[in-house]
């Protein structure tokens, strides 16, 4: 398994809840790190991202395609180059797929996550 990590960046406690859910379902720990924007300006959130990502390649899973979580993540990814990819609209399905498929490049993992997440969104009643 590669060192590719996932960092979930969200408002309030969404990120922590998603990490807990992935661990409860798969038993896999230590792959996903939650980051909340609670009480953060741009500078503080950037620092939380740096601490969460560390030195290795990572995919940043952001809750919304805009707002402070997204803008901070996109800035961080721009600095990190090919080692960092950003996915918006995080959901549990894409994270469950991600933790089992990390032996690829961040950009490929991001595309795979988007596919897995989108497939889980469907209408099941009329």
């Amino acid at each position: 398994m590669s060192e590719l990590r996932g960092v979930i960046v969200s408002h309030a406690a969404v990120a922590q809840a998603l990490v807990s859910a992935v661990t409860a379902i798969t038993g896999i720990e230590g792959v996903l790190t939650p980051v909340s924007n609670d009480g953060c300006g741009t500078e503080a959130l950037g620092q939380r991202l740096r601490e969460a990502v560390g030195t290795g390649p990572a995919v940043l899973f952001v809750d919304l395609p805009g707002g402070s979580c997204f803008t901070s993540s996109a800035r961080y990814a721009k600095q990190g180059g090919a080692d960092i990819a950003v996915v918006t609209g995080v959901n549990l399905a894409m994270l469950l797929d991600f933790v089992f498929h990390r032996d690829i490049q961040p950009a490929d993992a991001a595309r795979r996550a988007v596919d897995a997440g989108a497939k889980a969104i469907r209408v099941t009643s009329s």
């Binding site: 408002h11 009480g39 300006g41 500078e43 395609p65 805009g66 402070s68 997204f70 803008t71 721009k78």
Partner: protein, 157 residues
């Protein structure tokens, strides 16, 4: 003044602005006043991504905003004006004497700042600048979302 919100928020365009304030007030355009963002296409693309397509986003430097403010005020649509820090608010107010209110929506922790409210951290110098704005007739209050109480500047500086 017909702009519905003049806001100081170091996150600039984000959920509280677009959804928290934008939905109940039916905002149609957002003016982001920031010298750095106004000169960066990449930063502007980032901020546009957080805004639904039906809401126009306008980027301006302080100088541009000072000259364009009368046109934004005359716009029949609902608009917001955002700045990212207190110095920008002070600079804009100095150029536009008719600017009479500012909402402090989010100024977060940084070295040298002290907590004044859950969402407002200020250095003593920043607090003094807000009081000076108020002394010049600008109504300065702190309020993160519309459902919260607007806290007068005297209560948090």
């Amino acid at each position: 003044m017909t702009l519905a919100l003049y806001r100081i928020d170091d996150r600039l365009i984000h959920g509280q602005v677009v959804v928290g304030w934008g939905q109940p007030l039916d905002v149609a355009f957002i003016v982001l006043v920031d010298d750095e963002v106004s000169s960066s296409d990449w930063e502007q693309d980032l901020y546009r991504m957080g805004v639904p397509a039906q809401i126009e986003v306008i980027f301006a430097s302080v100088e541009q905003a000072a000259s364009l403010l009368p046109a934004w005020e005359a716009d029949p649509r609902v608009g917001f004006l955002l700045v990212g820090d207190i110095d920008t608010a002070v600079a804009l107010a100095a150029r536009v004497p008719q600017l009479k209110r500012f909402n402090v929506g989010g100024v977060h922790h940084r070295t040298g700042r002290k907590e004044r409210l859950r969402f407002v951290y200020l250095t003593d110098d920043e607090a003094a600048k807000l009081r000076q704005l108020a002394a010049r007739g600008v109504d300065v209050t702190a309020q993160d979302v519309p459902t919260a109480r607007a806290v007068p500047v005297t209560e948090f500086t």
